[in-house]
């Protein structure tokens, strides 16, 4: 596997660690009257795994396409790899890898041909793309399907092939737009493992996701987006510490009894969030709050004490859950 990644920048010798790969100031994207991205400031440094977390329609993909230099910005400043996308699009794209939300492989070509054809677009010679394709097929665990047509491959295989394809030019910056949406848990874990390896080998990652577990797994730092704006920024742990309690007690009731129980538990926790199907009680100690609630005659159908997650942060900041 090391070989597969040999071309990926393993060391960043000669470049200072805090080199800024992406800098956006007041970045705006408008489609007609609709403002998808409403003036965001972002800075991504070399070697980081950076995340955009937010629900569908938050403006994550529009932001990604602007960074990928495939969509011109409407307003604001943007520098990618130190260059202006409006003037140096091709030069920047030559050094980027892009994994779009929806796989856009050449379905009627083989897996290997997909990698070879794509590598040629980045100016690689035929012998170079042949060697690179073999390495990447290995990395994506697709060696035994290398010469099969892409169309009948499973969703997870296509996703891995798309990621492999994005690495063909040994990118300095890899953009992944919802890399695991629609995959089964096993396929997701395999993908996360591959992305971890890339991160370990020094590739800078930018990931959009509406899965908080994905953001917690992959990202060193992230921004929470909602309605085209950034509503919070920090490491997953820092965001949780800042915007949530340590533990969360979840209580489920029969639908018609939930409302009546709210006043009984309101003063037991730092904060109570009322969702359509359950109550969330934010507290440092979930078990003792549950005990106290029971002593007051609160009888939920089920109860669960868990660690606070980014989902709770999002709920706190926007009043809505991430995935409706």
């Amino acid at each position: 596997m090391r070989d597969a990644l040999s071309g990926v920048p393993a060391s960043v010798a000669g470049v200072s660690d805090d080199a800024v790969l992406v800098q956006a100031d007041g970045l705006v994207k408008r489609f007609g009257d609709f403002e998808a991205v409403r003036g965001i400031d972002v800075k991504v440094r070399r070697g980081e795994a950076f995340g955009f977390l937010g629900p569908n329609g938050a403006g994550k993909s529009s932001t990604m396409r602007m960074i990928a230099c495939t969509s011109p910005r409407t307003a604001g400043e943007l520098r990618v790899l130190g260059l202006d996308p409006d003037r140096h699009g091709p030069r920047i794209r030559a050094r980027l890898g892009m994994v779009p939300q929806q796989d856009n492989l050449d379905n009627e070509l083989t897996a290997r041909q997909n990698l070879q054809v794509y590598g040629r677009y980045f100016g690689l010679s035929r012998p170079q793309v042949r060697a690179r394709a073999t390495e990447l097929l290995e990395f994506a665990q697709l060696t035994d399907r290398a010469d099969d047509q892409v169309e009948p491959l499973s969703g997870g295989m296509k996703r891995r092939l798309t990621i492999a394809r994005s690495l063909v030019n040994e990118p300095e910056l890899l953009l992944l737009d919802e890399p695991t949406t629609g995959l089964d848990p096993q396929a997701r874990h395999l993908l996360w493992d591959r992305l971890f390896r890339l991160k370990q080998s020094g590739v800078t990652l930018i990931v959009t996701t509406h899965y908080m577990d994905e953001a917690e797994q992959l990202c060193d730092r992230l921004v929470v987006m909602d309605g085209g704006r950034i509503v919070a920024e920090g490491s997953p742990a820092a965001l949780i510490a800042e915007h949530s309690s340590r533990e969360v007690l979840e209580l489920r009731f029969p639908l018609d009894e939930q409302q009546a129980n709210v006043p009984l538990v309101r003063d037991l926790a730092d904060r109570v969030e009322v969702l359509p199907d359950r109550l969330l009680l934010y507290t440092a100690d979930g078990e003792s709050v549950l005990g106290a609630a029971n002593r007051r005659g609160v009888r939920p159908i089920s109860s669960l004490v868990r660690r606070a997650t980014l989902e709770d942060v999002f709920l706190r900041l926007t009043g809505r859950t991430l995935v409706d």
Binding site: A94, L105, N107, E108, F122, Q128
Partner: protein, 265 residues
């Protein structure tokens, strides 16, 4: 360490997109043979040899056997059909279904380079199917003069004069391509029947001739027949060519604009 990727020369970029399409074609060319070779040969057989056996050579057929009169026009019809079909679903699908265009423009390749390559690819497909038709039809004696080779570039131009507009449409529609069915039914087929393929448009009522004049097919037919049998003054030929070039350029510019709108979202 820096990425090994680089932005290649714009002309080379166009070549790389063509290389991609050629890689596809090498795997799938067999499927295209039926539509691009059998169809015109059936027309030539049924109309040229079959029906044509009942038609006496006369001034209307330039005093040639009907099949000889018909053969160059079938080349133009074929070119128009191939150009239209290569510009329709394959282009729409590259936006909508497998979204290949979005993959390509995420590389150093620009939208303009992509459009140029797609345009040249259609031209190449038209040339290839035209040459295949020419070779087979010659074996049946449908052509009498090597000057028919001049009809190939003419028919390619006539095909592109129509195909580029279909490409612009393909870059615009977002449904499953229902519009193409209408274009084929209400434009391509009537054009093939009434724009001088099977008989000169002088046989049409006077009022309806301007309808034939605006079609690229009629200009292509006039030029292709003149190329093989040869009697057209330079000015008339220049007029036909200019019209076809203008149509092609207009369609290509519109297609280019639609590609930009759709890919740079």
């Amino acid at each position: 360490m820096a990425s090994v990727g680089r932005a290649v020369h714009p002309v080379a970029s166009v070549g790389l997109v063509l290389e991609n399409l050629w890689t596809w074609y090498r795997r799938n060319w067999r499927a295209t043979v039926v539509s691009s070779l059998l169809t015109p040969l059936m027309f030539l057989g049924a109309m040229g040899f079959g029906l044509g056996s009942q038609i006496r050579p006369g001034p209307v057929t330039a005093n040639l056997p009907y099949v000889v009169y018909l053969a160059p026009a079938v080349l133009v019809m074929l070119s128009t059909q191939v150009a239209a079909s290569e510009s329709s679903f394959p282009v729409l699908g590259s936006f909508k279904w497998d979204q290949r265009y979005f993959a390509i423009t995420a590389t150093p390749v620009s939208v303009d380079q992509l459009v140029t390559a797609q345009f040249l690819w259609v031209a190449l497909r038209v040339v290839l199917s035209g040459l295949a038709y020419l070779a087979v039809a010659s074996l049946f004696g449908a052509f009498t003069d090597v000057r028919v080779l001049l009809a190939v570039p003419v028919s390619v131009l006539a095909g592109l004069a129509f195909g580029t507009w279909v490409m612009a449409l393909a870059a615009t529609v977002s449904d499953e391509g229902n519009a193409f069915g209408n274009v084929f039914r209400f434009v391509l087929v009537p054009m093939s029947l009434f724009a001088g393929t099977f008989y000169p448009i002088t046989q049409l009522p006077v009022w309806s001739r301007p309808l034939a004049w605006v079609t690229p097919l009629w200009h292509g037919n006039e030029l292709a027949r003149a190329a093989e049998f040869g009697h057209m003054d330079a000015l008339t030929a220049a007029g036909h060519l200019a019209y076809l070039l203008l149509l092609t350029a207009g369609g290509l510019l519109l297609a280019r604009r639609r590609f930009h709108v759709r890919l740079k979202v």
